[in-house]
């Protein structure tokens, strides 16, 4: 290999021109692995969705006529929407605080947000199982303030609580990035013109922060659609999300075609939303309002 590269090297003193594929072959091992263990599996899943158990679109017509399958898709989208909304409500003030405090407080606030990033998903979900169980801490606290024990685990509420905590960083970080780029003198200007502080905030700051809201919300929403571990352990089997349904179809019922069709639908929804992210990013960049 060394000899080959030496022959390919240009005469000493001339800057190699990076046209052609002098370096391209270095991509091959990674692309090969990706083809065999990513593209082939996705293709296999799509293939089975139209061939198993019989050729045709049977699995898709099952999906779009089955009340259970459609309810699962709708529930997944609804849980994703609620998670996105709750994450936004919790993250917006938090990210805003990060932009107005001193450097040291900001480091701590950032650390708190990043902590979930490096705590294993399995560990966090287990912790929520402990916290939310019927005799858990949350219910004990609710008991002391006189609110009866609530059924939290094995409900969509439990799933939303667990998923929100896991997805917070994906909302806070883009919000912070956009908010810290907003020129605060615009708020002073608005107040100088006679706006009350709250009005200035709502009519100047909030609109300027919308690109961050859009980026964060879409990221959280898209990521939430693919969650398996959290809904499987915190949710109830009869309120399953689409990932759980796919798992059950393939692993439990060996219904490869149906599981594959659900997988293709999930993938399609994800890709459409990703396309939307691209559009949002391009819009904000051409408007150039933020930075």
């Amino acid at each position: 290999m060394t000899a080959l590269i030496e022959i390919a090297a240009p005469a000493a003193g001339r800057r190699p021109k990076d046209t052609g594929d002098r370096w391209g072959w270095l991509l091959l091992p990674a692309l090969l692995l990706l083809a065999v263990l990513f593209l082939v599996p996705l293709g296999l899943m799509a293939w089975r969705s139209v061939t198993d158990p019989a050729p045709g679109a049977g699995n898709y017509s099952w999906f779009f006529t089955s009340d259970v399958a459609l309810a699962t898709l709708v529930r997944t989208l609804a849980v994703g929407a609620v998670v996105t909304l709750v994450t936004l409500v919790l993250s917006y003030p938090y990210a805003y605080l990060m932009t107005v405090v001193g450097a040291r407080a900001r480091v701590w606030l950032t650390l708190l947000v990043l902590l979930p990033f490096w705590t294993s998903l399995m560990v966090r979900t287990f912790a929520w199982v402990v916290l939310l169980q019927d005799s858990g801490v949350v219910n004990q606290l609710l008991g002391t303030v006189g609110m009866g024990p609530l059924q939290l685990i094995r409900t969509p509420t439990g799933v939303v609580i667990g998923m929100t905590q896991v997805l917070m960083p994906f909302m806070v970080l883009p919000l912070y990035a956009v908010m810290s780029g907003i020129d605060r003198r615009l708020l002073d200007a608005a107040q100088g013109m006679g706006a009350r502080p709250a009005t200035a905030f709502l009519r100047v700051f909030v609109p300027l922060s919308l690109p961050g809201v859009g980026a964060g919300a879409l990221t959280v929403f898209i990521t939430s659609l693919g969650f398996y571990v959290t809904p499987a352990l915190l949710g109830s089997p009869d309120q399953a999300l689409i990932s759980q349904q796919i798992f059950t179809q393939v692993n439990g019922l060996l219904a490869w075609g149906r599981g594959g069709a659900m997988g293709v639908v999930l993938l399609a929804v994800t890709l459409v939303l990703l396309g939307l992210v691209g559009v949002v990013l391009r819009l904000t960049r051409t408007r150039g309002g933020v930075r």
Binding site: M1, T2, I5, E6, A9, A12, G13, P16, T19, R22, W23, G24, W25, L26, L27, P29, A30, L31, L33, L34, L37, F38, P41, L42, M45, L90, Y94, V100, L112, V113, L115, P116, W118, T119, S120, M122, V123, R124, T125, F126, A127, V129, V130, Q133, G136, Q165, M168, P197, L225, G226, V229, S243, F247, V250, W256, G263, L266, L267, T270, L274
Partner: protein, 263 residues
Amino acid sequence: MRTGPARIALWAFSVLVGFWLIAPTLVVIPLSFTDKASLVFPPTGWSGRWYTNFFTDPRWTEALLSSLQVGVLVAVVATVLGTAAAIALTRSGSRWAKSSYGLLLAPMIVPTVVVAIGVYALFLQYGLLGTLFGFVTAHTVLALPFVIIPVTASLRGFDRRLEDAALICGASRWGAIRQVTLPQIAPGVVSGALFAFVTSFDEVVVSLFIQSPYLQTLPVMMFASVTRDTDPTIAAAATLIIAFTTVLVLAATFATSRRNRVR
């Protein structure tokens, strides 16, 4: 706004959110030291018996060893393939090299359960379920983006005239890369390797599909344990994972921040 009630409310709200963010960690660690055989929090008495349990139960130790073995191999394979790919991505002028960047990062975006059933189908067909080879290759695909992103960033910050200088001084192309480029981008490569390890060490969904009774990883054992019983050994396992991944991520962050200071 400096000390007004709005600001106090903002702080109070954010402190609550921050507390809620670390709540899982605050629960798991004390729980692993409970003396009761149940997952009741807060614990009433303390003991280290669940750690003893973890390290003497062959099911847990084998899962830990499998996870470590898979993780180390994934880190090695993903770092080698990812670094090679990152070099190509930052240098090749061809269009297909540019467009493969998105493809290489795709495993990060596509829902894991979708990848998992495809890999499951493939492995079922070729008898790769529950094999070390299967775990390492499947996890490597998921870990590649986490190597490619930091290494590509390091390479973008690297002044290629240093490599040209080495070539002028008579170094071979490979020699220049090995002796000049790689040491310069080492922080990015190290952080990529650590993130690849953590990705594999934490992965649950694909592992659930491709496991067998002979090869299970620690997260798979934990998943099974949560659904099955209330044995606090799982809290000990979780605490060990927290401690381990925190050290690794801090190391990776340190490696990256050192690179930024050098530049």
